[in-house]
Symmetry: C2
Subunit: 494 residues, 2 copies
Amino acid sequence: MFESAELGHTVDKKRWDAEVPALREALLQAQFALSQQKRCPVILLIGGVDGATSGETVKRLLEWMDPRHISVRAFPEPTDDERQRPPMWRFWQSLPPKGKIGILFGGWHTTPIVDRAEGRSTAAELDQNIQRIVRFERMLVAEGALLLKYWLHIPKEAQRLRLKALAKDPETAWRVTALDRQRFKRYDAFRKVAEHFIRQTSSGEAPWLITEATDERYRDLTVGQSVLAAVQERVAEKTSAHTPDRTPPLLPPIDAKDVLSELDFSKTITKAKYETQLERWQGQLATLTRDRRFRDRALVAVFEGNDAAGKGGAIRRLVGPLDPRQYDIIPIAAPTEEERAQPYLWRFWRHVPKLRAATIFDRSWYGRVLVERVEGLAPESEWMRAYDEINDFEHQLARFGVVVVKFWLAVTKDEQLKRFKDRERTPFKQFKITDDDWRNRKKWDAYRQAACDMVDRTSTTKAPWTLVPSNDKHWSRIHVLKTVCRAVERSLER
Amino acid sequence: MFESAELGHTVDKKRWDAEVPALREALLQAQFALSQQKRCPVILLIGGVDGATSGETVKRLLEWMDPRHISVRAFPEPTDDERQRPPMWRFWQSLPPKGKIGILFGGWHTTPIVDRAEGRSTAAELDQNIQRIVRFERMLVAEGALLLKYWLHIPKEAQRLRLKALAKDPETAWRVTALDRQRFKRYDAFRKVAEHFIRQTSSGEAPWLITEATDERYRDLTVGQSVLAAVQERVAEKTSAHTPDRTPPLLPPIDAKDVLSELDFSKTITKAKYETQLERWQGQLATLTRDRRFRDRALVAVFEGNDAAGKGGAIRRLVGPLDPRQYDIIPIAAPTEEERAQPYLWRFWRHVPKLRAATIFDRSWYGRVLVERVEGLAPESEWMRAYDEINDFEHQLARFGVVVVKFWLAVTKDEQLKRFKDRERTPFKQFKITDDDWRNRKKWDAYRQAACDMVDRTSTTKAPWTLVPSNDKHWSRIHVLKTVCRAVERSLER
């Protein structure tokens, strides 16, 4: 795999001087076209045995291109803020938007490889990391990203000489750190792990491109030309009018039974009992979220449901007992321009709570498989793959200690009509009812099937759906509170 | 995930009688269109807690459809023949060709799930299996297969009642085996593992479709209608003229150096020394392949290279010392019609050697990234993903104990010309030179880049490429023999 990166490739100064000006101009032009078209983000990962080498290459690319359209992010030890979130969070935050180039320097590949090479993780753990990375990269590519992965390889002997030469010269000796020496001792282990990693995370759409990095000119000219060719190709690519649909159809159950039809809408609670229960469960939630063990936990609560099912009211009762510095309520509307320039999950990644905190989503990432599916805003291939992407996302949260609870607040069609009419009649409720609500109501059955498919495909042990019959708002609120308390409790006991 | 398959779905006899005739007719029509179009194979996997249930569903589908275009394969304990090959081999052999429906009953999902649920494998092993399955299924889908995966779910209480009722009735008691009872005891573990497996192996293009299977009519009508809708959709799908190219370009090295240019073509050996060495290494290979430890090994040798580089001669010397019952030489030409109806690796899967045996491929699966790439027979997206598919395939062989050696026999352009002319002049060699050879020669540089990219992307520790400068045929033959001996030897020592 490293054969052709061990041949001693070089580029002489004459050729460098002759070729670089034209390359720079072409890169700038390609970059300009990319930023005008805003068709896709370009994500550059740079890996390899020697950190300094990647750093120099990044500097060169910045020198050649327009730095206003490039973002460079390095990932040294995680910051305090980053430690409070799942490991992938810092990468989610660092993705470039469409039209921009983002260089992720020591990206998501580094820790898994180094940890394995230095014996801090097992082969099985490496493979699990690889699996997650493959799924994540696959999602990025499906979302349209141009993902370019360069592996800068230095043969063992060349690396030995390189470190020696640097150390000898007083002006460069500082560049050889203890870490470099230590890494070099593990060169063979590193190489072996890297081969496995590169093989397993290469795909037709996001292959690792291995480049010999001993000679700086060869290295930088190679990477520069490769970036240029890839961006040029993407910019020139005609957008396809028709992508073949490869997803099998999801049919509704052939009897009338589904998870919604089987809900018991007669659930009800007296006003008096509601008051006592509310106090009891809010008290319990206050206690639980102030528990010492909750310092290693966080809460994500998702609210979806029929229009006028009472999401707002339930959310207010849920956050009542929480410390206001501790939670955010994120109402989800149509994505902003900034958000549309990113993978659809990006606007939710932003709001992942820190440890000890809670984020309540009033509508959520499930929009993709609900409104976007029903209204035809996302093609079938996109919402079909979203189920898995969502499961992956939620399981990353859960693995990190985030309690994930998801509510579908359901009302019957009659009850919804009653509430719509009530809203129209009551002056201070009129803002709550729009033409959209009536339009959605006409698609009642389509939304219903979408909701049932969503539950079938995304209700998992670690992130289960709770379907709440909400014809009685009081009963619904208590049920939500109780469910959250129990989920947090179970999590604290682990 | 199993919520809506635990609602007690039923279909009454009246509805069944009313709907089945139309369903059968539609299924037969869809099946006919599929077999006429030969656009894709349909692969049906059926899984679930209860084996009998899947069996009944399969019987029903066979009753409804034209059995001439369906193949059913069950996978009980592996046969002797199957035990001699990598675990996936029996599934490779069982895939339906384009235009046909293949039901794989207890497919590749069964063993990983059952082994984990019964504690015979670790969580990490399960995840490694999942990873392989995901990659394999992804390849099938990329090759155009319609992959339908049904999970027939029976809620715990329903399963308990079911087994009880069967056991009570003397006519059906025989159907409840000790295995059924034992499985039932592990119901919860099985369910948990199944959820994880289903989540990780579902994708937009090959999702698991979970169906409640307690009521036979509901179960069979649901599966029947789902198969119908999926096949109808695929048959009606317009073939896309343009699939967007998402693969970044592979560029040749920017200096003239590549793994071929760096070969030392001056390697040579005297006739006398050749004779001694030939005897020595052939003797060694005879000994090695008759070693007791070779009973758990097999050999796959791949020969690729320039036209007239001497593949035939090298192969003859290699098989010389082998027992003729022990090896096959498979010359690869253009695929037959039968082979074109399958994933491109299928024609090679067929020839995977048993343990103790050897298969020598004169040209190979690398055709996809060599001739098919250069001649434009496969689009870029296909040959780009082939590198990974090939690596997966070879690593499956290697993991099973197959020694994989791959040779690129290289001659210089001048030497080739000399040999071509010699062939034209020598009557008994004229059959060896065709117009194709001259045509290929015109594309020397394109083939060269394809060969170098191939080495870069598929030479791995477990299945390395050996590049053999072959201007001197004798030297080349000895080098091949020596390389094979050393690879077998290393493998025996493990």
